[in-house]
């Protein structure tokens, strides 16, 4: 196939490859292609959660803005969501219950987690968006 000028900007699903983070509860999607995302700073990745899992236990923050998206797997019905997730926000650990499709906006510096997918009756598409190329956690001091 002839080399294209812009094909380098496309990350495609990697057939037959598993993420080292894959478990029976969580399936991160593996993309292949770009090394540096064309110089773009923001990042996006997603996983499917099909069983309860305590995903991250340690409260932490970041030096960048972050968005956590919780969606169902039925694009024809955006409200088709059947799961319960508990997410702690702030240094007080204020618990938020997520049981509908939700976007959580986490400004830089806001302490968050644990994040616990407590009940999964239907698989959840969990999408993580960050505004920096490197994912670095700052533990709570």
């Amino acid at each position: 196939m002839a080399k294209t000028k812009y094909g380098k900007y496309i990350l495609k699903g990697a057939r037959g490859e598993k993420s080292p983070l894959e478990t029976s509860a969580m399936k991160p999607v593996v993309l292949e292609g770009l090394e540096d995302w064309g110089g773009i700073k923001h990042r996006m990745k997603w996983s499917f959660i099909s069983q309860p899992i305590l995903m991250i236990d340690e409260p932490h923050s970041h030096d960048f803005d972050e968005f956590l998206c919780f969606l169902g797997c039925n694009p024809a019905n955006e409200l088709d969501f059947d799961a319960e997730v508990e997410l702690s926000l702030g240094k007080e650990g204020e618990k938020q219950i997520i049981n509908t499709p939700t976007v959580v906006c986490i400004p830089r510096g806001l302490i968050h987690c644990p994040i616990n997918f407590k009940t999964i009756s239907k698989p959840v598409l969990f999408c993580h968006i960050s505004t920096a190329p490197e994912y670095v956690r700052k533990p709570v001091s």
């Binding site: 900007y9 399936k27 999607v29 797997c73 968006i129």
Partner: protein
Amino acid sequence: MAKAKYQKYVLKEPRVSLPPKKPTSVPTFGLSEELMSGIGKFDCNFNFVGILAPHVLADPPHKHDCDELLFFISTDPENTTDLGGEVEIALGEEWEKHVITTSAIICLPKGLQHCPVYVRKVDRPFYFGHLLLAAKYGSNANILG
């Protein structure tokens, strides 16, 4: 007045009813400046659109003066690689054609022209969306004529 012989051939206001059209896409969730108004300023907006059937997306060829990601997400947890459909997108001012059949992200550095997007085939609904490093979609968009 006597009834005209041939009047029956003249159909006035010939309205026809069309069969109900199934939607080809549905907006689902995302982030906008309006939604964010109560919680602070984030230089980021995105959306997820459910793609249900073949169609051409409304966006004409355009480019932005900030970076953007376009994403395509298979919604089958048992088959996260195959998109469940086929999408064709034009990249660059040459309209270089690229065909997407897997989950994918297209990285669009600022200034890179993109679109139109043709959804050619949908075997199972999937998500498509954009992620733009600007508070509002359009604020940093230069739509080409």
